[in-house]
């Protein structure tokens, strides 16, 4: 009879409110296992219960850490290529790019399409949905995808109709690449920069644009919108949209701007069994309860080296990774994407 660490099961956050019930179910599962029925075991001797998500957050975290280690070592991974315009006759997998405005969806899509171009041109605000057919991978491993990038401007007809048509239509996506950037969003309109500065000053008259505190305040400002957008997407999925959805990659972009705090970003986006979830992790965890078979990856990514200024009046932030390290990030991201697509 397999041994089960009941203490771990009962302390699991997922079942915190149902300790006794879980103990009983765990014992029942041990018995049923001995007569041939299947039970599954995930890291830390925690039993996976019927109706649980198929994955586990330690694996998601491990994948992130592995990318982090590669970048730190500066060890280039094997080359991943994507070519545009090949295999046009084959079956293509629908992939959707979502994310709040200025998070870098178009840049990421461009980076994945042209993996050998670190110096890709700058992008501008997407004014409508962008559709493309792309081939990811190389040689026999090439996989064709129909990519749709949804504009991030919330509460706009372009975004609303784009999401409705893509998530509920015949070409409903099998995968979503959700782009976030830990509050390092680009603000497209100079007028909005002034407004945001004014709004933050009205809240705190001592707001000093040169201070570290002001930069943190700006990051929080963007995180609020990012969370609202992620909630909207998850809400749509939970309401029955994207029925064919089988995977989601959360691309934590522009990480070259905050590589010295990358662990904090990881902890913000990846839930942990032993800690109370923040709002983003809570939403992500809820999604896995709704879609138990979904595969999830949360990866650091940087499409290209780019300097960043949160507001015009604030000091410029410079990228802290070099081109080789960005190449590693891009290769690892492409590799995971190809794995999910295959």
């Amino acid at each position: 009879m397999p041994s089960v660490n009941l203490r771990t099961v009962t302390s699991s956050q997922l079942y915190a409110s149902r300790k006794i019930e879980v103990q009983m179910v765990a014992q029942l599962l041990i018995r049923t296992d001995s007569v041939g029925l299947r039970t599954q075991r995930i890291k830390g001797d925690r039993l996976r219960m019927p109706g649980d998500w198929n994955g586990d957050w330690d694996t998601v975290r491990g994948q992130w850490n592995s990318v982090h280690d590669d970048v730190e070592r500066g060890r280039p991974s094997h080359d991943e290529r994507a070519a545009r315009g090949w295999l046009r006759l084959g079956r293509s997998t629908p992939v959707l790019f979502t994310g709040v405005a200025g998070s870098g969806k178009t840049m990421l899509n461009n980076a994945l399409m042209r993996p050998n171009r670190i110096d890709a041109a700058d992008s501008s605000r997407s004014k409508d949905i962008e559709k493309q057919r792309t081939v990811f991978g190389s040689g026999r491993k090439r996989i064709q995808a129909s990519v749709v990038v949804i504009p991030g401007q919330m509460y706009s007809p372009e975004r609303g109709s784009g999401l409705a048509a893509t998530l509920t239509g015949k070409a409903s996506p099998t995968g979503i690449i959700h782009v976030v950037c830990w509050g390092h969003n680009r603000i497209w309109s100079p007028g909005s920069e002034t407004d945001i500065g004014d709004a933050l000053r009205s809240e705190d008259p001592s707001f000093n644009p040169d201070s570290e505190l002001a930069r943190e305040r700006m990051r929080e400002f963007h995180l609020v919108s990012e969370l609202a957008e992620f909630r909207e997407i998850c809400g749509l999925i939970e309401d029955g949209a994207a029925k064919r959805l089988s995977w989601m990659i959360v691309a934590v972009c522009q990480c070259d701007l905050y590589w010295n705090r990358i662990e904090q970003a990881r902890d913000y986006y990846i839930p942990r069994e032993t800690r109370t979830d923040n709002q983003f992790c809570k939403r992500l965890r809820d999604l896995t309860k709704e879609r138990t078979s979904i595969r999830i990856a949360v990866l650091p990514m940087s499409s290209r080296r780019i300097s960043y200024r949160p507001l015009r009046e604030m000091p410029m932030q410079r990228p802290t990774l070099d081109d080789v390290q960005i190449g590693i990030l891009r290769n690892r991201f492409s590799s995971t994407l190809r794995d999910f697509l295959g």
Binding site: Y155, P157, F221
Partner: protein, 152 residues
């Protein structure tokens, strides 16, 4: 070209509401001007058609005596020239100014609404807006395009 974007700060829910209401009024104006533009363009099409018919009549008109035919052709060509003149006048006096006004107004409205979109979540959370107000505001904002051209 002068931009008509609102210079008012959006630092509170009241300011947000004011600019959104102004944008809605200006959106109505844009629709009104677009409809006038449509009428002017239809008038141009009508004048152009008259000019074409007049030229066709001059070329294919009834075969009369040489002097009568000359008058007929002259009349037809005069009519065609007048129709083209009317079409040109509509273009200069009506279509061009209205088109410019629509473009300026439209850009200003979209700039303002994009500013509102950036601040909506922040202000609604800071001031603890109720669900009804949030839903209503989302629906109002959704009537404006991001900025690709035709709005509403």
């Amino acid at each position: 070209m002068m931009d008509d974007t609102s210079m008012e700060k959006i630092d509170s829910g009241d300011a947000f509401e004011r600019i959104l209401s102004q944008s809605e009024k200006r959106l109505d104006e844009v629709h009104e001007w677009r409809s006038r533009l449509g009428i002017a363009r239809r008038a141009q099409v009508a004048a152009g058609s008259v000019a074409l018919v007049a030229v066709a009549v001059a070329l294919l008109g009834p075969n009369r005596s040489s002097s009568g035919q000359g008058t007929w052709i002259a009349l037809a060509l005069l009519t065609a020239a007048a129709a083209l003149g009317v079409s040109f006048a509509i273009q200069v006096r009506r279509v061009n100014p209205l088109g410019r006004q629509v473009a300026i107004k439209e850009r200003a409205v979209l700039n303002d609404v994009n500013r509102l979109r950036e601040l909506f979540i922040y202000i609604s959370q800071r001031e603890n807006w109720g669900d009804e107000r949030i839903r209503n505001t989302k629906s109002r904002l959704s009537k404006f395009s991001i900025g690709s051209g035709a709005i509403g």
